[in-house]
Symmetry: C2
């Protein structure tokens, strides 16, 4: 035990990331790669609590570094909302809203493709989660009109849509759900963890009450970091202050990310604000890549034509290989890694997710050729 | 507005920390200065979600980087607890425990010197907070025996002690409170945000049920990062899993700090584990420094002899100066900064807090001389 501990301790002084420098297709990671400005910010504000040098009681009001300007001036127009704040990430944003608007035993209605953290956040509050089923293989679409009968039946305190979902990259009819939310007067959370920072998006245009973004997933930020936007009418509910300490937000426990991830989020923001303007190029790149992989016999799941860089493929040919090789499903991870490519979760070959967001067409061409070469090698 | 936004955006590409490289006496910061190993980890794992390369569903079980070993093997003996986990920070750890063990309307009893986040976390759960008063100026001691009548009167669900508190650096009789907790069978939270990572501390020896530490405050880590240790009997309550996703902790919303602050916490841990062994040197350094400042007419508040690097001084002579200079209380911040020293909160001169933890005796000698010079300059 003593010896094992000593070995474990030794390992901590040599923390290195195995996947550094590879072509990154990992859906969780392609939108969170730092800008150069963010890397400078990492070193500048790495020391614990260094963002708090000039704090006068509230993180979101710090003027040096310019957190207040970021939160009050830059985030709201970017999110299409009236009031914004900083969170530890999308899941913490969801929990804040659920915890503020609903009570144990209340119900919420969510899309069948929701992220698992939607359910866990609701469990933490004690809510009943009712899912609107998807259409199943291969498209996994959710018709948002199906929220209506469930709203009538369950009188939910909130409805939530994952836009897009993290499994198939489907962009459902968020605006139609906005109309439904208005018609039935139910607060509407748009979970945009894979949208905010990748594509243009506006809470107001969609007609949602809350918009949630993830810094580490889609805003070129270190983790943990997130943003939460809302209509002004919810400010007093969700950003209510402590009865004892009038500057302190209860749901943020005073402050949320009092550290360097916030600085990377801010440092990358000018770049992120610009990159969402080029979303059409991202979509056409994803569609081209998907079509090329389908030529190899892979089957793209989710909506077609696809409108997001997050792609999910069934790969029967790779699955056949995985059944007869020593490494089982890990052979794909290994083969790709040897070629300088990191993407599908290690162990998965039968079906896997990729994101084309961070790679350029030349790199993706190399990825396509690599898949071809792997199929040939084992055929 | 447009122009103002454009200026705000411009500022984000030039985020620089004004206090970098100064002698740091800021109590929030002296225990959170990164090690060189942590700075390497910052660059290695800065990209969003890069710690999750090999995740199989639970952050605390990731083996590469060796998060599991850190959480399961290294943290428990360091904290003197049976089970440990990772949090966003001390306040989030407190909220987790309160939210798991108490219900809205329940009461908890806390020391009068508690951190404000203790109250805000309790408010977020809906708890009544009953404080054990301190003895007032100048020592602000709390007699933990005074928890007893309040326990009898209010039947609290939890008791909490801040050890030391962040205002005076008082180390109360935590062990005696452990005996009281056992006698009345009340779960006991030790908030060690200024202890864990600075001084040797053991939850078991103190007889607490929970121990809470802060990475950015006292473990040479970037923020946000924290640790939570507990007795095994509480594991199923606080670290209960989702009913739907069996690997996911409800109170951590699946995972807590899925990002680079955790890597800095781990990278610095070998150094932190070693440095707590030299706590006696820290204490004698703090006592010497305090005695020197008292020779200048400052009055150290809190316990004497002091047993922690966190020092709070009344400074009537500086207050007199602040009343007649243009910069008011800011003159002290300005004078110290010109001499390469950063510590008292900008604007405070009448009384202020300092920490001697990060500075060596030579630097502290220079600080003492600087205070002398400032007093002379304005006398």
């Amino acid at each position: 035990m003593e010896q094992k501990s000593s070995k474990s301790l030794q390992k901590l002084s040599e923390l290195r990331r195995e996947h550094k420098g590879l072509i990154n297709l990992m859906p969780l990671q392609t939108g969170g790669i730092l800008t150069d400005a963010a890397r400078v910010a990492l070193m500048e504000f790495g020391d614990g609590y260094s963002v708090c040098d000039f704090c006068e009681g509230s993180l979101c009001n710090v003027t040096n570094p310019p957190i207040r300007d970021f939160v009050q001036e830059l985030l709201p127009p970017f999110l299409g909302c009236e009031v914004a704040t900083i969170t530890h990430g999308a899941r913490e944003g969801k929990f804040m809203v659920m915890h503020s608007l609903a009570k144990p035993g209340d119900s919420i209605i969510v899309d069948g493709n929701k992220h698992y953290t939607t359910v866990v956040a609701a469990e933490r509050v004690g809510l009943n989660v009712i899912g609107v089923p998807n259409s199943g293989h291969p498209e996994f679409r959710v018709d948002v009109n199906e929220y209506v009968p469930l709203i009538k039946k369950h009188a939910p305190k909130l409805i939530l849509l994952t836009y897009p979902d993290g499994n198939y990259g489907n962009l459902l009819d968020a605006r139609r759900l906005g109309e439904i939310a208005r018609e039935y007067n139910i607060p509407y959370i748009l979970n945009g963890a894979y949208a905010v920072g990748r594509m243009p998006i506006s809470m107001e245009e969609i007609g949602a009450d809350f918009i949630i973004g993830s810094g580490h997933k889609s805003m070129a930020s270190a983790g943990p970091a997130g943003v939460l936007g809302m209509r002004k009418k919810w400010e007093e509910t969700v950003l209510r202050k402590s009865g004892t300490y009038s500057k302190k937000d209860i749901e943020l426990l005073g402050c949320s990310i009092r550290g360097v991830p916030l600085m990377t989020l801010m440092a990358s923001f000018p770049y992120v604000k610009e990159r969402v303007q080029h979303w059409d190029e991202q979509v056409s790149k994803a569609q081209w890549f998907s079509a090329e992989l389908e030529k190899l016999g892979f089957i793209q799941l989710g909506e077609k034509p696809h409108r997001h860089d997050l792609l999910h493929f069934d790969a029967p040919a790779l699955y056949e290989i995985s059944k007869r090789v020593r490494e089982k499903g890990y052979f794909l991870y290994k083969e790709l890694k040897e070629r300088g490519i990191w993407g599908p979760q290690p162990g998965l070959a039968r079906s896997f997710k990729l994101s084309t967001f961070a790679a350029d067409r030349q790199q993706l061409g190399f990825v396509i050729d690599s898949f071809k070469a792997i199929l040939n090698k084992y055929s």
